[in-house]
Symmetry: C2
Subunit: 388 residues, 2 copies
């Protein structure tokens, strides 16, 4: 078990009736607020009006950056950073899902430097400060609402990069499950696959960690398996939406990786898929994860699959470990592709093998993904091929 | 499910090799450090020397308050607050278990007011500020290392009071499992019973909460059941000590109560036991908890016991719910009194029924404990009697 530091100071306002505390949170940081959001859904849902009303009645000054795209792009960050500098913004308020939140975090950091944002982020210059960010979450998926990370894409260079830095941690996040009632079944499925993947990337690890945290991860995975299908069928089921929302945050806020060397493999591969083809992140992860699990399975790792199969899917523990392991992959696939109804192959979403070599090379940065099983370019190509 | 706010900014340094970061943490708050500790065990273990060395080599100025007693008393708080005022202390460093930590939190708050500490705390005056507190934990039990609470006793008035206030949250806690290697089997058992009780007090609740968090609580209880006996037999088993330590913090840091109206019953009753008889808190809880569970069990609540019995103790889920419920109480008792070897009755520890009426009256503050099952004075007396 490795030593670790755990620190997460994001203040969470969870529930139906918390928005009236928004202005108090914003006022802690100043008077000039940049509101960021994506497409029109926050307007059609009525959330935009409620938020603007809260902001205005407390005398804060409002600026806006709408139109942040899915797989958010560096152009939005450039635009946002310019507004922050020009208007002397004190605090950013992101209303949306992972894309809007990630872009807003990058804007908050880009506003504090004089470089071009892409140069700054892609050269991995030290990220020492950022404007404060407050979140109103509308989609349970990335966990960006309670962590120090974010990703940003550059479609010109076909690159998607991620940064982790403490100044990117949101000061406060408003998690109102009713704000996810308008998320359709397909996006609910993609978001749930994303949450599931965050847990799997940490759980599948032979590095000895904390049993207690493994139990927690198993509980989170059971939560997603139990509630994602309910939320898809009954979009306004509060119990389902609230469990998915809280799982989204805890799936990737630093807690579950306590004591483990982390081993993220599917995310590195998926970032190439969405950088090249602009697909939904959660969908890419869903297609990759069972194939990656199949590729990594061998006698040295079977015990982890056995633990997963018996504790998460309730597979009969008296079966042979290898049988349980294979069955666990089948059951995960069944959950992702039948229960959630996600497309199960890259072929189905129009992706062929032409870019596999370059994508694989980029995924391992020309070397190796030092994950659950070390993956070199050839391994990654094979996993991509298994997804066809 | 209730709305809730979750916020916990304590920075945790977990593991064997973190103490070298102590001075950086202390220096954030100033130069003048009050080191608090209990009996001589921190000296015999060698921890005291290591801590003093760290403090001195970074040029901090050290003051000391030794001798903080188990079930810490208001006299220690008075002494500590005087030192803080006289020496213009900037930051407090508690090295110890729950008693030392609780007393130190109260000192940190008492140092900021002009009242007598007991007057101030017992009148529930608003606790608006406190000096910063940093912790080095040496016993896994109360969870005080990562929360806003603490208890203090006044043996003169036979009162034990608890306060919860954000300024009491430690700024940082150093959780090194090896610092608990010297905790003997009996104290390890008492600490484990305390952790278990913190979870049970929240878990047994018919208020609909978050399934995900229930899963986590079940994982924590399984963790205590698995590792407490190991830590008792093999005091230097790092895996056991680290799991118990992390469970101690998460058992009562605000997370598991997400979305639930809390319903603490055994703690209110136990505080009277230790206020009157100065017994070890975890032992009092161990004796009370199974009797309280037995007293509360009826058809309206059996589903929660069923969930507990099947998910925590692995009782056959095809049995009748009431059978599972009764068996779960038996298995918990077996764990506490046979596996952990704790005394199972008040009689065994020399407590008779003479003070039951007054203790019961105080426990419910003359009204009712509005817990899992509302308990009036008569109910509490009966539960005490069941413990004889």
């Amino acid at each position: 078990m490795n030593d670790f530091i755990y620190e997460n100071s994001t203040k969470i306002y969870f529930g139906k009736d918390q928005l009236r505390k928004l202005s108090v949170e914003l006022c802690k940081h100043g008077k000039r607020v940049l509101l960021t959001y994506g497409g029109g859904s926050v307007k059609t849902s009525g959330l935009y009006d409620k938020v603007v009303e809260e902001i205005k009645k407390s005398g804060l000054q409002l600026f806006e950056l709408p139109g942040i795209e899915p797989n958010p792009r560096i152009e939005s960050v450039r635009k946002g950073a310019e507004i922050c500098k020009r208007e002397k913004i004190d605090v950013l308020l992101a209303v949306g899902g992972g894309s809007t939140i990630d872009a807003t975090k990058y804007i908050a950091a880009a506003a504090c430097v004089d470089f071009d944002p892409w140069d700054f982020f892609s050269k991995f210059s030290p990220l020492k400060e950022a404007l404060p960010v407050v979140i109103i979450l509308t989609h349970s998926a990335t966990g960006s609402e309670m962590n120090t990370g974010g990703v940003i894409s550059n479609l010109e260079t076909k690159e998607k990069i991620g940064r982790l830095a403490r100044p990117l941690l949101p000061k406060a996040s408003f998690l109102d499950p009713t704000n996810t009632y308008t998320v359709g079944p397909y996006q609910t499925a993609c978001g749930s696959a994303d949450i599931m993947s965050h847990i799997i990337e940490v759980y599948f690890n032979m590095n000895k960690g904390l049993y207690m945290v493994d139990c927690f991860m198993e509980g989170m995975m059971k939560t997603v398996i139990k509630y994602a299908p309910i939320a898809m069928k009954e979009p306004d089921n509060y119990e389902a939406r609230s469990n998915l929302m809280w799982a989204s945050s805890w799936g990737i806020n630093g807690f579950i990786s306590s004591g483990k060397r982390q081993a993220w493999s599917c995310h590195s591969m998926e970032h190439e898929l969405s950088a090249f083809y602009d697909i939904t992140h959660g969908l890419g992860l869903a297609i990759l994860t069972p194939r990656w699990m199949e590729y990594c399975l061998d006698e040295t790792k079977v015990s982890k699959y056995y633990q997963f199969g018996t504790n998460v899917f309730g597979i009969d523990p008296t079966l042979e470990p290898m049988t349980v392991a294979k069955k666990s992959i089948e059951m995960l696939s069944d959950f992702l592709f039948n229960t959630l109804g996600l497309q199960s192959t890259l072929t189905e979403i129009g992706i062929g093998k032409e870019n596999f070599p370059i994508m694989a090379k980029k995924a391992c940065e020309g070397e190796v993904i030092a994950g659950f099983k070390p993956l070199a370019q050839k391994d990654i190509e094979k996993i991509f091929e298994m997804c066809l």
